[in-house]
């Protein structure tokens, strides 16, 4: 009880602002006069949520977004991490490519959407390209930095103890660069998530971003708000379920991560 009670207390306190916002939102139309498209009532948003759950469109859009994110994440990191390690292992190659990578990382993401539309047309291809591109450059940059940050003395130590080839890789390079690689995964996911929503708004044909921007044209503000709430909740779930545990494990296994 002594451990649970403060947490329950915190939970109750933390819920308070949400309750207040909902109450204010409920009361506002009775207190002020404004067109309902500016801020639809709480009831309208709930009706919209129920309606889009019932006709399946909400689930469909959510799954479409998550699937794109997953494809982009797998393609981006699947190519970036091995390539990043390969580049970082040779100092000359790394020195030659670093400015190019730094530059491409700084434009990765949303800025590629217009070009992606030209290359792939509106739809799945363009959005996946932009997500994969964002995640690739964040991933490769962090992998290169991670491998390079392993001190030379550690290489010598491993070699002088008879470590060879694959052992250097599994015992030194991978654990040595892992903290930075995971940092890259998390950063790239945060940028990739923004690229997903933004990409769907400009180049999408379905998904949560598309749902929101499409609704603006018809002044269906309730759909826009529904989309925002979902985007917030999904990100919290992704971040807390995927990356917080991953970081915790890395901290325990390979030393501290501080954010």
């Amino acid at each position: 009880m002594t451990r649970l009670a403060p947490r329950l207390h915190d939970l109750a306190l933390g819920t308070l602002p949400f309750v207040l916002i909902l109450v204010a939102w409920f009361l506002l139309p009775h207190l002020l006069d404004y067109p309902s498209y500016m801020l639809p009532s709480l009831g309208t948003v709930i009706d919209r949520a129920i309606g889009s759950i019932e006709d399946g469109s909400l689930l469909e859009n959510t799954l479409a977004s998550l699937q794109r994110l997953a494809i982009g994440f797998i393609i981006g990191n699947g190519v970036a991490i091995p390539l990043g390690i390969a580049i970082a292992l040779n100092r000359h190659v790394a020195d030659t490519l670093r400015p190019v990578l730094t530059f491409l990382q700084s434009i990765a993401g949303i800025a590629w959407v217009p070009l992606a539309i030209i290359w792939f047309g509106i739809g799945q291809g363009a959005v996946v390209f932009v997500i994969a591109n964002t995640i690739f450059f964040a991933g490769i940059y962090n992998t290169v930095v991670g491998v390079e940050s392993i001190p030379n003395t550690l290489y010598r130590a491993v070699r002088s103890h008879g470590g060879k080839g694959i052992q250097i890789f599994t015992e030194l390079i991978l654990p040595g660069a892992l903290v930075q690689i995971i940092l890259g995964l998390r950063t790239s996911m945060a940028y990739g998530w923004r690229a997903l929503v933004a990409g769907e708004m400009i180049a999408g044909t379905n998904g949560l971003g598309y749902m929101s921007i499409e609704a603006v044209q018809w002044y269906q503000t309730e759909t826009v708000i529904l989309g925002m709430i979902l985007i917030g909740i999904l990100w919290l779930i992704l971040d807390r379920l995927l990356f917080v545990p991953l970081e915790q494990r890395t901290i325990v296994r390979w030393g501290l991560i501080q954010r």
Binding site: G14, I21, M38, D95, G109
Partner: protein, 266 residues
């Protein structure tokens, strides 16, 4: 190469420059091999001509100034509001416990998701872009300032108090410096997101600016202009990052101790 004559930094620079040149050369050489329409796959020469044209017509300088103005104003306002709110909330334990979940939730609704409703509320234009930028910067700063203030060791606060520090002195000399590494982390995160946010907001809601150039170039099939926009965007970000963000971080480290970045953990 005669590595003996060059300092390591010069050698790295030359190698890096060679990398950029090789990339541009490969790009130029690949154009006839790929054999696609210039609007689909423009060459570096096309991009250069587009750049010269945009400069001569005076379009690019105007767009660049517009983007920079929006960015600096939005980020500046976001920083001030974020730190102030973080301090105010952080100084009260109860206020932080009440508001932290809400802040986490608002931080999770990424700024791009707010843009549709900002468009409904404020229309297409400057207001929407500015508010979106303030939003992007505000939350990472608020979140990190709060974290910094809440993790100041109580002994420091007690020590300053027992030496007779007033509340203002306590904030200025103890809490703010102790929270500064976190604030800088928030600044870096916010400034990075804000830059992408600016480009996106300009694509959706502007008629000038680098984001608009990138989008408009593509939709009028002047793809070389799009690429000029992307290159200018990249260079602008590198300039801001190297000339402002990195030095601020370095000064903070020297003045107030370590800002933990991944490279430090050995």
């Amino acid at each position: 190469m005669n590595a003996g004559l060059l300092t390591p930094a010069t050698e790295r620079f030359l190698k890096g420059a060679a990398g950029v040149l090789v990339l541009v050369a490969l790009w130029q050489a690949s154009v006839p091999l790929v054999g696609l329409e210039p609007y689909f796959y423009p060459s570096p020469a096309d991009v250069w001509h587009a750049f010269v044209e945009l400069m001569e017509k005076g379009i690019l300088p105007v767009y660049l100034v517009d983007s920079l103005y929006r960015y600096l104003l939005g980020v500046g306002l976001g920083i001030v509001l974020g730190i102030a709110a973080g301090l105010l909330i952080g100084l009260s334990a109860t206020a932080s416990r009440i508001l932290t979940p809400l802040i986490n939730f608002l931080f999770a609704i990424v700024e791009v998701a707010w843009i549709p409703i900002f468009v409904i509320w404020f229309g297409y234009g400057f207001k929407t872009i500015l508010i979106a930028l303030v939003y992007v910067v505000l939350f990472p700063l608020l979140y990190n300032t709060l974290l910094g203030v809440r993790t100041v060791p109580q002994v420091y606060v007690n020590a300053a108090r027992s030496l007779g520090a007033t509340r203002l002195q306590l904030i200025k000399d103890v809490i703010l410096p102790a929270a500064l590494p976190n604030i800088i982390t928030g600044l870096r995160v916010g400034a990075g997101f804000a830059f992408r946010g600016l480009i996106f907001a300009e694509i959706i809601a502007a008629k000038t600016g680098i984001g608009y150039l990138i989008f408009e170039g593509a939709s009028t099939q002047q793809t070389a202009r799009t690429i000029v926009g992307m290159i200018v965007m990249g260079l602008l970000w590198l300039f801001l990052d190297r000339c402002y963000l990195k030095p601020i971080e370095r000064v903070t480290i020297e003045r107030w101790g370590q800002v933990t970045t991944a490279e430090d953990r050995e």
